[in-house]
């Protein structure tokens, strides 16, 4: 076992983990932050996307030990301090960007990473950025629309198909 410590959503945390413990398991099983979903566990679906030192990564494809000393952000830290939804979360609700919700934590974290680097993306840039986030419910249109709306752009011209 290796002792690790990191800052998760602004809170200092620590734990003892095996080498093979994935960051996704550390978050879900040790810290009980079960908002980070594990859809495939094979690096394909993006449901487990979190930020490590500000960068979007798949928590199922990184060892917890590798995040020792890092700043980690998960979906649990997305809402505003008063508990109200963040701009991105609110846009997903307003534009029906989710159905079952399984992919949503990863979608929101990917969207947050995109908008940090590129505050006014084009529709194509949003779709390209979501390459690694799979949704089996929505057909993506409303997710793209929600992210465009969260970036403050007019989405009335984007068809809701």
């Amino acid at each position: 076992m290796t002792g690790i410590s990191m800052v998760v959503n602004g809170r200092a945390v620590s734990g003892d983990v095996e080498g093979r413990t994935l960051l996704s398991s550390f978050l879900r099983d040790d810290l009980r932050l079960t908002g980070t979903h594990v859809g495939c566990d094979t690096s394909q679906c993006g449901a487990c996307v979190v930020h490590v030192n500000g960068k979007a990564v798949k928590a199922c494809t990184m060892f917890a030990v590798e995040a020792d000393g890092a700043e980690v952000a998960t979906i649990e830290g997305e809402a505003n301090a008063d508990g109200s939804l963040s701009v991105i979360q609110q846009a997903f609700q307003d534009h029906h960007g989710l159905q079952c919700g399984f992919c949503t934590p990863g979608m929101v974290m990917s969207a947050a990473a995109l908008l940090k680097d590129n505050p006014k993306p084009t529709e194509t840039e949003v779709r390209d950025y979501l390459e690694g986030n799979i949704c089996r419910c929505t057909g993506y249109h409303n997710i793209v629309k929600a992210i465009m709306a969260a970036s403050g752009q007019d989405v009335s011209a984007i068809a809701a198909e």
């Binding site: 080498g19 979007a56 798949k58 590798e66 990917s110 950025y129 690694g132």
Partner: protein, 264 residues
């Protein structure tokens, strides 16, 4: 996954030492190795993480103009930092997998793995790059030894990759959308002394140079120079995504597109 320890050295020397241990294996970004470990296709006792080694990070330009990339540099960093020096290489890096894969996966890991459908092997072979390890320099022409096989010895670490910058170059990736790898990818680079064409995704032997196309394009650098050429389907990969003859045909189409893009 079977159990193992993880070491996180901060220098190349410490990493090389740690890799001398029995059943020790290098860990780059883990984007290939972690899925492999999950399938229990590998059983190292120690993983030596290379991502904390400062001297293996980043992009710079050598005095002779070559672009030098640290072996543990992520695809995302290459996409950003190589753009000014070698745009075709940066563009290739920016289309590997998806953003989360690019934030972890490294150039050293990609070249060490030598997946037959990976993108970097085409850039390295197509640019006549030099793969620099902890104890020698290997020319790309001598480095790739067939699918998942390279000239690297046990415990040898890719510390840097050096790319001579061509006059013009382009990579055309025909996306296999499920894996996000290349179904076929062609890297074309024009240097003062000739044109290089490297093909990934197509051959059972992994990445290769299409020498007939190189000769034709060195004489006349235009897509029409490929007109009379065809690649035999023998030895091409056949799977549910494409037959050997489909892939052979696609190589020519993608080579033509790469040349056209160079002139675009």
């Amino acid at each position: 996954m079977y159990a193992f320890e993880i070491e996180r050295p901060s220098t190349i020397a410490d990493a090389v030492n740690a890799l001398k241990g029995e059943d020790a294996q290098a860990l780059g970004g883990g984007q290939t190795l972690i899925p492999t470990l999950k399938q229990r296709l590998a059983a190292p006792s120690v993983l030596v993480s290379l991502t904390g080694i400062g001297e293996m990070q980043g992009v710079c330009q050598a005095d002779d103009g070559a672009v030098c990339i640290g072996g543990a540099t992520t695809h995302a960093t290459v996409a950003k930092e190589a753009a000014a020096h070698y745009p075709a290489l940066a563009d290739l890096a920016s289309h590997i997998g998806d953003p989360a894969v690019r934030n972890r996966g490294t150039i050293g890991g990609s070249l060490a793995n030598n997946d037959p459908a990976a993108c970097y092997p085409a850039a390295a072979l197509g640019s006549g790059a030099t793969i620099i390890t902890n104890n020698r320099q290997i020319a790309a022409d001598d480095y790739f030894e067939g699918m998942f096989s390279t000239a690297l010895d046990e415990g040898e670490v890719i510390t840097e990759v050096r790319f001579p910058v061509p006059q013009t170059a382009n990579y055309q990736k025909f996306l296999q959308p499920a894996s996000r790898f290349a179904l076929v990818g062609v890297f074309v680079a024009q240097y003062a002394d000739g044109v290089r064409v490297a093909v990934t995704g197509a051959s059972e032997e992994g990445v290769f140079r299409w020498s007939e196309a190189e000769a034709a394009l060195s004489a006349n650098f235009s897509a029409s120079a490929l007109d009379g050429l065809s690649l035999p389907a023998d030895g091409m990969i056949g799977d549910l995504h494409g037959s050997p003859s489909y892939r052979a045909h696609l190589v020519k189409v993608m080579t033509g597109r790469a040349v056209a893009a160079c002139q675009g």
